[in-house]
Structures are given as structure tokens and as C-alpha cells.
Symmetry: C2
Subunit: 488 residues, 2 copies
């Protein structure tokens, strides 16, 4: 709280870093590229995990756990996968240290692994190698498994939550008897992500498919949801892949169908990560700090007593505890901050910084009037509320905040989405948000546009209207518009 947050308009990137660190979400660790997720950040992530996990189970999935390490040779088995993943990764080469003659700790060269182990960047290979043992017949299908895990992708330039060498995520890996069922599964899980990001994180997203160039290494089709941040950039919030029979073929996973015929198994994988924490911060926060949607806030309401003498505090505490109790009976998460270490002004700023959606202040005068002062984090409006009406008002206001955050973010996105038809306009508008434009469908053009503007095709929207047009760069014929943006 002694530090100051850089204003969002002055330096968006610094503003983001300030909030992540000062609100107690995460910080850089002593290990290059790895972050420490601090208690407040982890509490939000835990809420995300719990809700997503419930959604996965409601759609028939179970959890399991596969090894952290993957033998190097596994990556070579799926040709395009190795290009995408086996390059920038942590390689374990030895399994012992020893004390050298000079007393320092050194690697024991006699303890060298025959085959190096890779710290998993994603688990398709180790999981499909296991599925080979689990799947023989159509009776073993579908196999609907999810894993919560840490993964490592070596990064040179890192940003807290958005790009770190180690991050936390979930990865679903499912196996199916038919192509149709696998495609249906990958779309279903994309919809679970849409539900979570829109209705819990209060961030609107666009559903679409990735171009070939942006596809997951080893996928036949990559479905994605794309969100807009407050600087107009896109953030890929989750992906779901239809993997065809690629991994089944690479790991020789065949099954006997009802007619007794052998065929390769069809696969999907899908994941979201602690990157969502970055999206959450960037979508809603302001110059006072973090703004959390009530459904994800670890504390939804904080009650702060205002008093001079200790005797006053006793009366206030009695009422505050009753309020806390009555709100908790409504399944709300409530903190009564009666710590005497800090003054009310400090507490107000601290809970604003941490994004608590509602603050209730109670002083002696309030007690006399039978009212409290309720302050919204999102709009920063204050309301005097009779204690008798507080329970209902709090419940309603939290709903309003949740809706308001979504609507505000949606309105921002709409105001920063531009349908353009000329290259000059493209180059101008791409600095401010999403650009919806025609593209000739070639990777060559896609890469040229990226080279010139740093913008990528975020997705081809699902159920995209078809219309004749000309590619924004080459003028070649195009059947549909796609969404371009600079991205995190």
C-alpha cells in the first residue's frame, strides 16, 4: 500500500504489473521465468479450479494424474507435435548431486540418465502412451479424463500469469470411438469454457477456430475463445483441440468396434491455465487496483468498523458480526476487518486494491441511525442502506456488479471492434482493437500481415456469415471475414 499504481492510460503494461504485485496476486521468483502465486492470487485460482472442476464432472469427466516427466523419444512420435513443443523445454539429464572436494555441490556425472526426461510442456504423449494399455474395445470408450497439473515451457521473455516458464493448468484428454463424437466433445468443452469465462469471470469471448498456422501442434482443428483486454489486445482464454487419430496412430492405440473391426481411437484435448488470471486482471481492473467479479472474489464483502474509542468498537462489532452471519447464511463470503493494526482509510484502499466487490462501513452514527454505508468497487458509488434491508441489498448489488462488469467489458469490445475494407484502415484500426476483415485464406498472407502489423488472426468465428469480398492485403477473393488483433 505504500506503493503507487501506474495509471492504466500512462503505461498499460506497468499498470498490469503493479496490480498483480501490489494486490498480492503473484511475483517473480528467484528462478528465472517462474512465478510465486501469492495467497490472494491463489485464492482466486482455487475458486476458478473448483468451478471448472465441477463443470468438468457435470459433463462426465473424471480426474487422474500422469507423470511430470516425459521420455524424450515420446515427442518424436507425433511429427508436428515435436516441432511445437519439444524445443523450448526443461531437460532433466542427471539424477544425483554430490559434494565436490572443495565442498561445493555439483552434478554427479556418473548419474547420467540413459534417455533424457522432458518436464511436460503438455501431456498428450505420455497420456496416449498410457491409453494404449487402457483401451482395447469400444466398451472402454469414451474415456473422459482431466488432469490438474503444472507444466513447463521455457520462455525467455516472461510476464506474470500471461507467459511464465512454469504455469498451472488443467488438460482434458479424451478418447472416442468415432470422429463425430470427438468433434462434439471438443465443441462441448469449448462451450464449458465460454460458460465459465463469460458467466463467472464476466469476460465476453468470441468462439472460433484457429487458422492452420495458429493450430495446436498435432491437432486437426483447434477451437478457441478470444477475449479483448482494456488495451484492445486479444487474449486467447482457452482452447479445445480435435486431434483426429494423430496421437492414436503415433502411439498405436486401436480398439475393436461393435462389429469386431479394429480402428484407431479419436482424440480431443482442451485446456485453460493460470493465464486466465491475467485475463481477469486486465479485463476489469482500474487505477485503484484489482476489480473482481463477485462470483470469483474470495471475499465478496468486507465490513470495516469506523471508531475512535475502543468502547465504540464493541457496539459496532456486535452489529457487524450479526451482519456477517446473516450474509454468510446466504452463502456469501464475508470478511470483518476489525484489525487494530491499521486505520480505516488504509483498509479502504487496501480492500479496493485487492478487488473486494462490496465494502460496508459502520460507525457509531450509523448505529444510531440503523444504517450502514455500502460502497461498490466497480462503480465506486456509495449508498446509505438501512440495516434491515442490507441482506437483500447486498445480494442484489453483487448480482448487479457481476452483470455490470460483463456489460462494461462487452461494450468496450464492441466499441473497439472495427469492420474494415482497406489496408490503410486496417493498419490504423489494428492499434485500437479487433479488426474484422477479409483474408485470402493463405498462411503466406497471414504471416505477411503479422510481419507488417504484429497482428495475428485470432480466429475464424464459428457460424461465421459467408460473404464475398477481397482480401485486405492481397485483394484476392475471400468468402468470409476473420478477426485480426494484436495479442498477448
Amino acid at each position: 500500500m505504500s506503493q503507487k499504481i501506474t495509471s492504466r492510460s500512462a503505461d498499460y503494461s506497468e499498470w498490469y504489473n503493479n496490480i498483480v504485485e501490489q494486490a498480492g496476486l503473484a511475483e517473480h521468483s528467484a528462478v528465472k521465468g517462474c512465478m510465486v502465486i501469492k495467497p490472494h492470487g491463489y485464492a482466486v485460482w482455487e475458486r476458478m479450479q473448483r468451478i471448472l472442476d465441477d463443470m468438468f464432472k457435470a459433463t462426465g469427466h473424471v480426474n487422474a494424474y500422469f507423470p511430470l516427466f516425459i521420455p524424450k523419444s515420446f515427442f518424436s512420435k507425433e511429427a508436428s507435435h515435436v516441432e511445437g513443443f519439444a524445443k523450448e523445454c526443461a531437460v532433466v539429464t542427471h539424477y544425483r548431486l554430490k559434494t565436490a572436494d572443495d565442498g561445493t555441490i555439483v552434478v554427479d556425472e556418473t548419474a547420467k540418465l540413459e534417455e533424457e526426461l522432458i518436464v511436460r510442456p503438455t501431456s498428450e504423449t505420455i497420456i496416449w502412451n498410457t491409453y494404449k494399455k487402457w483401451i482395447q474395445s469400444y466398451r472402454d470408450l469414451p474415456l473422459l479424463i482431466n488432469q490438474w497439473a503444472n507444466v513447463v515451457r521455457w520462455e525467455m521473455r516472461t510476464r506474470l500469469f500471461l507467459r511464465t516458464t512454469e504455469f498451472l493448468w488443467q488438460e482434458g484428454h479424451t478418447a472416442h470411438a468415432t470422429r463425430e463424437e470427438a468433434i462434439e466433445e471438443s465443441k462441448k468443452m469449448l462451450d464449458v469454457y465460454v460458460d465459465f469465462v463469460e458467466n463467472w469471470m464476466a469476460v465476453p469471448v468470441i468462439k472460433g477456430v484457429k487458422t492452420e498456422n495458429e493450430r495446436f501442434a498435432g491437432a486437426v482443428e483447434t477451437y478457441t475463445i478470444e477475449a479483448m483486454m482494456q488495451d484492445g489486445k486479444a487474449l486467447q482464454a482457452g482452447t479445445s483441440h480435435f486431434l483426429g487419430q494423430n496421437f492414436a496412430k503415433a502411439f498405436d492405440v486401436q480398439f475393436t468396434d461393435k462389429e469386431g473391426k479394429l480402428d484407431y481411437v479419436w482424440a480431443t484435448s482442451w485446456g485453460v491455465s493460470t493465464r486466465l488470471m491475467g485475463a481477469l486482471v486486465m479485463a476489469h481492473s482500474d487505477n485503484q487496483g484489482l476489480v473482481l467479479p463477485p462470483k470469483l472474489a474470495p471475499q465478496q464483502v468486507v465490513i470495516v468498523p469506523i471508531y475512535k474509542e475502543v468502547e465504540e468498537l464493541q457496539d459496532i462489532s456486535e452489529v457487524a458480526r450479526k451482519i456477517k452471519q446473516s450474509l454468510e447464511a446466504k452463502d456469501l463470503r464475508v470478511l470483518y476487518d476489525d484489525s487494530d493494526k491499521q486505520r480505516p482509510g488504509w483498509k479502504f484502499a487496501e480492500h479496493e486494491l485487492k478487488g473486494v466487490p462490496l465494502r460496508i462501513a459502520i460507525g457509531a452514527r450509523d448505529l444510531a441511525n440503523g444504517t450502514v454505508e455500502m460502497a461498490r468497487r466497480d462503480t465506486k458509488t456509495k449508498h446509505v442502506v438501512p440495516i434491515a434491508e442490507l441482506e437483500t441489498t447486498v445480494v442484489e448489488t453483487l448480482d448487479l456488479i457481476q452483470t455490470n462488469l460483463y456489460q462494461t467489458t462487452l461494450a468496450f469490445r464492441e466499441a473497439h471492434t472495427f469492420t474494415v475494407d482497406t489496408w490503410d484502415e486496417f493498419k490504423e484500426k489494428i492499434e485500437y482493437g479487433f479488426v474484422v476483415a477479409h483474408w485470402d485464406g493463405t498462411t503466406e498472407t497471414e504471416l505477411k500481415i503479422k510481419e507488417e502489423t504484429k497482428a495475428t488472426i485470432r480466429c475464424i468465428p464459428l457460424e461465421n456469415p459467408q460473404e464475398d469480398g477481397k482480401c485486405i492485403l492481397t485483394g484476392k477473393p475471400s468468402k468470409q471475414r476473420v478477426i485480426f488483433a494484436k495479442a498477448y
Copy 2:
């Protein structure tokens, strides 16, 4: 289900492996020493996690996440810690692979780390290195943090759950202003473990302290809980360490107390791991498979329809679904297994193998009588229960099973605990269970006894009665008996 479980008396070790694999708890992976935790095993572990996590939060702790990797030099900072942990570990030396001229994937030697990274075997060092930034004053204390994570300790001889190179665990790391408060914390968390293992896992434990020789590397005192398995061997179910100021001094973590004086911070750490899964299997299971205490069973009740014609199934299903609903309304976890892929006999055996505490079978004749057949997994007794009384009977019976498992395990331990006073008797009884005997208090004697009998001192019980006696091996004077056993 096509396989057969080796009988417990014929080959205890094989019996254990059979149950773990056949009940779908875990299996060996393609990576030496690492296991795959299968869906049924992971579902039990999830219940354990959820319950422990609630207990940690109820005692004021919050979760956070620290990096998987630890710089090699960190281990050298605490002298005894490095001896215990930095030796058999996974060492990351490179951060990139490349495609060689012959098309194979090889380590890119140009991407060698300046300082090797160790995959965490435990996180004291990286956490105390972080705490240095977080702690300045007594206002920052106590710091009560827990982490759920995977850790790696390179093992040559592994056993599923009991000893694997990678395992899952939680590790609490707390920081305190005084020695007394830290000791109190380490004892409090030991009691949380006792509560969990006894009241949820239904496994009685002995609380005690470890001898100097068995102490955690870097601890001043290690508190432990020791459980007896069905072969009379001990299994250390959880430990809680009072770390004194060792790590604070190693990482220079000082704080200003209320009087403005600088002092080093006092520390604890405590943990339980997927090893508890091994304890759970070994404590209760039998020759038919896994036996799960109702409080931890992912499914507490399974309902199996008995029918010949599909028309019969419809009537049975209607009743079964009502029963399922009414039990779920009591917060019970119920599976209705109406799959037509397998016959009832197969299902009975399968759910027995998987340890479901109660089975309810419903056939057409039962419907006519308004009854069902209820079978207990622990005692294998069957009861005809009127449907009208089923809800109450199920709730009561699940309680009875939970209690029965605890009492049976306790009676077994009592029958296999021997107070002995001669070396001959010691050598005889140590083959069958715990031996309570006098010891002269020296590491030398402790190691000699281990060499001759493979038995270790499991603990010196807390509140141990003091009595004059003579060391079982050396005859030297002793003030108290300690607990010896062979151990996992």
C-alpha cells in the same frame, strides 16, 4: 476383473500391488519410478485433499504456489538439509532440444543453464528465500501458508504410492515471532493429521517425536504419526517439523519485534502425501480387494439391479432412482449401476474390488416384497431391509462401517504390539509388529539394532511414561521405552 488377487497371507507385498492395480488406483508409468494415479485412486486422493484443505483453512492457513525448480545453490545454504535432500534428485541442466542432422531429437548443448535447477524434493529453501521479501516486522507474522504440489525424490526401488520418484503432497510452511508459537503450530498440525487419519481414514496412529537419527534434515524436532499395517509393519503417515531458526538463518530472514529489536524468524513445516493412499489400502483391504472407509469413499453406496427381462429393469430402475435420490438428499454419494454391459455377479465383484462400502441389490421379488438386499463391504454380511427403512439404515450402517474399520485396525495393532525386556524376545516379536522397549538414547545403539533386525525407532511417544529400565541391546540405563518396528 479377469485377474486374481494374490491372498494377503500368501504374499502381502503382491497382494498390495494387485489391489492397487486391479482396483484402478494406480499403475507404473513409462517413466521409471513415476506412477499414473488412475481415476478411482485420484477420486479418493481428491476427497483426502478436500478434507485436509478444509482443516488447514479452519486452522487459519492459506494456500499459495512456489516454483517447481530450485537453484542448486539454495540447497547448500542449510548444512544438514543439503545432506538429506540434494543428493538423489532430478537435475535440469538444459532448456532446449534440437533436431540433429540424422533427424533425431537431441539436447541442444548451446542451451546449457549457468546454474543447474533441481526439481523440488521439498520446498523449504525456495520458500524461505521468498519469505525474506515478505517478512520485515512482527506485523507480518505469523505467516501460515500451505502448498499442494508434486515433488520429486529419485528412488531406485519404488512401490506404488509408498515410494515413488514423483509424488503429490501438501507442504505447510509457517513463520512465527517466537519459539513457543512455532512449537505450538507444529504440534497443532500434527493433531490435524491425527484427526484426519483416525477419523476419516479410520486408521489409529501413535503420536511421537523422531530420534535425532530419523529427524527431517534441517529440523530441530520432528513430530510424527505412525500407523500399523496388516503385516505388522509401521508406516509413517505424516510429519510436522519444528525448524527452529535454521532456515531463517540460512536465508537471512529477520523481523523487527514490538520493541524494535531484530531477531530471526521461527519456522515449522509439515506434510502428508499420496503415501497416505498406500496406508489406506494396506490398513483395511482384504482378499476381495479394496475396503474404503465410508467417509473417504468416492461412492458410498452402489445400487445394482437384478433382472432378466428389460421390462423388469424399468420397474426396478424407477425404485432405484428414488432410493438414489433420497440417499443423495442425505449428502451420500450413490452410484446406480444399470449398465447393460455386464451381469450382476460381475458388478458385485467389481464394486467389492473397488471398495464401495455398501451394495444394494434390487430384483423383481424384492420389489414385490418392498425390500432390498443390503451388503456390507467390511463384514460381507447381507441384510434384507424394507425400502421404507432404507434411508435410516444406510446412514446408520455407513457409520457402523466407519467405526468398525477403526476398531478392527486398533484391535489388530493392540494384538501386535509387544512390550519386551530381553533381546531374544525383541528379535522374535519384531517380526510381528511394534515392539515397546527400553533404549539407551544413542544413535550408535539405534543403528546397531537396525543393522541386526531392520527395525527402526518409529517414535518416542508424546507424553511417554517415564520409568527406569535397561536398554534392550546394551543394557545401559534408560528412562523410557520407545517404539520399534520394521517400516515402509
